[in-house]
Symmetry: C2
Subunit: 473 residues, 2 copies
């Protein structure tokens, strides 16, 4: 990286704005490539001057839960709840490494151009090509330069086990790979790819209680402790999963995960829609982080996660786009907007509502806390790494001028990211990603796809009647 100084830029102060200069200096901080060295008015220009006039500087946001390869099926998935949607998704999952590469690029680009400098990719692995899948995603994220938290999605039970059995016990096919073999893949991925200082992190990430044994969760906890890895999982996304947990454990999923030791201050849990008050207290006590994916929860009819309750209980909350098949975009500003205003209908006391400034903090510092790097990222603080985004406040979608953060969070900002840096390296300039050729990416996505009207999932046909019966539909 090169040193640079952003001049005359608007930043948020406690409850106001200030116009300042921000110096980013290579090697200014021990072990950091590019760190925030000073924030004050009228600083000396060190390195390249960057014009911050009429622009807002914020810490980069975290897209704290997604599945990049779902990009291939966005726009076409049926209007189904999660359990049937997943069956359809898996029937048509992309199995070509090149597709995985392109959708990781696409996910990174859309995240970056909507204010995200970090992405947690709960990465679907191609069976038999697991390490290759992880290698490809790593390559894509390194090329773009976004900070990546790759969470290889693993399970050790077959898909049908994820639906409650109801009255009669069901038999399920065993999963095609043993628990031990799966854990071995993850450990090998950590050895090969886990390089936090280079912006690539591997997480342990069992998909969730609906498709994982205790042995898998415990094996993941053990790897997490041994290699200092963050932990990730889906948690209680649907009412069906709430039922299933009671069938499987005789208690709530949260109680069970606490008992087996998966919850921690470096555990991020996607969704958390169907938790009760005791569960919420457990999340607070274990300092676990909730990743709220509002668009996906609406699209799949999963429900409205009780985010205001989480915040009142002191549970850390951040935002994710979730995979593009259940959203169907990777626009983080959209997720932040919806994840803020959606909850106003759940509590008539408006003093509890999430303000735009709180939403920005949830999306930045909230993500950093969940990923155990709040000491290095998540705020505009001298001594932290420079994962920064500069927004153009002269864009029509942010006019007329009122409250910049209010406009950014509550409006529908379009083409507003002027520049972005990850660890001091500029990867967006003048509104364009500078590290890869986005036009070529667009052409590849076009060439490798075709317009489709509809399609029929065989697995859905097999399980739909059972699902409807169990769920009382």
């Amino acid at each position: 990286m090169l040193d640079f100084t952003i001049q005359n830029v608007l930043i948020a102060t406690d409850d106001d704005y200030a116009t300042v200069d921000v110096q980013i200096i290579d090697g200014a901080l021990a072990k950091l490539a590019g760190g925030i060295a000073a924030i004050a008015p009228n600083l000396q220009v060190i390195g390249t001057p960057i014009d911050g006039k009429n622009k807002l500087l914020l810490p980069g946001f975290f897209n704290a839960h997604t599945h990049s390869s779902e990009m291939w099926q966005r726009g076409i998935m049926s209007a189904f709840p999660l359990e049937l949607w997943l069956a359809e998704l898996y029937d048509f999952a992309p199995l070509d490494p090149e597709q995985v590469y392109l959708s990781a690029l696409g996910t990174a680009v859309e995240t970056l151009l909507s204010g995200g400098t970090s992405v947690v990719d709960h990465l679907v692995l191609i069976p038999g090509l697991e390490l290759e899948t992880i290698a490809i995603a790593t390559r894509a994220y390194k090329e773009v330069g976004i900070r990546a938290f790759i969470a290889p999605l693993i399970q050790d039970e077959s898909l049908s086990a994820g639906i409650p059995s109801g009255e009669s016990a069901q038999k399920h096919e065993p999963y095609f790979r043993s628990t031990a073999a799966t854990l071995e893949i993850i450990e090998e991925a950590v050895r090969q790819f886990h390089r936090p200082d280079e912006g690539i992190n591997i997480l342990v990430a069992p998909t969730g209680i609906q498709l994982c044994t205790d042995a898998l969760f415990e094996g993941c906890s053990e790897l997490s402790d041994r290699y200092n890895l963050c932990r990730h999982s889906h948690l209680l996304e649907t009412r069906a999963q709430e039922k299933l947990a009671q069938e499987k454990y005789g208690c709530t999923a949260v109680e069970h995960l606490k008992r087996i030791g998966y919850l921690s201050d470096h555990t991020t849990l996607a969704h958390c829609v169907w938790l009760n008050d005791a569960d919420i207290a457990i999340l607070a006590e274990t300092q676990s982080t909730v990743v709220h994916n509002p668009l996906s929860n609406l699209r799949l009819g999963s429900g409205i996660a009780p985010i205001l309750k989480y915040r009142q209980a002191g549970v850390n909350v951040t935002f994710g786009c979730d995979g593009a098949s259940s959203n169907d975009s990777q626009d983080l500003l959209e997720a932040i907007k919806m994840g803020s205003i959606l909850h106003n209908v759940t509590d008539s006391n408006y003093q509890h509502w999430i303000t735009p400034r709180q939403a920005v903090e949830m999306a930045s510092l909230g993500g950093a806390k969940g990923l155990n790097i709040a000491d290095k990222l998540g705020s505009l603080t001298v001594g932290k790494q420079a994962d920064l985004v500069l927004y153009d406040l002269t864009n029509l979608s942010l006019l007329p001028r009122t409250d910049p953060i209010g406009l950014l969070v509550l409006g529908r900002p379009t083409n507003v990211v002027n520049s972005a840096w990850v660890n001091g390296k500029q990867i967006v300039a003048d509104g364009k990603v500078t590290t890869i050729n986005v036009d070529e990416l667009r052409q590849e996505l076009f060439n490798r796809s075709q317009w489709e009207t509809k399609r029929k999932s065989e697995t859905v046909a097999q399980i739909e009647a059972h699902y409807r019966t169990v769920m009382g539909l």
Copy 2:
């Protein structure tokens, strides 16, 4: 207008897509400037050829409820429910005709660039300059070329009357203008500006039962009958209004509006959040149209309108952005997306969920029905007027290629409107509005505003305690 033929364009058929040519011919239809003359593959090129390859053609959508001048306060309004929000809004309402002009332009541009070719502007009038306000909005919409339905917002009770009184009866200041004088202004506006053939329509539009007497509603109905005008109003946006209706009428607002004859097949009703089953039956019976404003209803915590119930009861539903102070954008695609997926959490039977194709029909034909022009607009049909939008399917936000309408409705399309025509006249080409200088507009919006952190509404300070008591907060 000039005749033109869109070649090789994708259109939606019953449950598939087809590639066709579409001829738009001046004078092809009696009384129509630009009409759809033919839709079929391999047509002769008449007039200018337009390349439709890799593009999707849809009928223009209706932004069926907004308040254009609210654009001046987007991003800065406090996190309040409607009643307090309105007090803050009015304390800072723009009172300068030039501001009204610029925000009407801005509303038109954002609507157009998100697929809308018609806008219903429930226009806030500057006191003492009522006809001038309407003249200015008319001028702005004519300049842009969008089809405008100007609904001058009127009331004849003072703002405090809009909050339920609770136990003790409250006294309110009389409104500053008499009911008769208000109706005279509307009648004069009709004489001066109501020119449906030129794309400018005046509607009668009392703001709602919370601030209007029966005399005002009845006077509006009479004008509507005499001049063949559509009718518009807010209806039961909040729980407070539901309470107020019971206090005021001893029955629901819908029962009362039916009794006084305001409901009809040319009445559009914004919000409709707090209706019961009997109310819904009345809307169906009177063929009234619900305008769903999902973003605003969330932002103000008003609630989730029972849209799936409306559809099941046969009530026509269409979408609006609502004013930009409660949204805080005018992006119609965002309103359509949220207005579709939001309801999935209200009904676990996914067979009732709104599909992307249904959403497109609600946004186009649904709007045309509500505004009593479904014979002329709202679908891609030979013999209808050419209010059309052409979407670029090679845009990154619509890739990879899957189901074009699914991507458009469920994704987050950005910069996807390639061209738009209103009554056969092209007003967007190559992604740019061709009729006005949008860069100049941007500059004017910038120059006439400044970044603000916060502000204090005096009226809110006066009424907040009473509001909290009455609402049990």
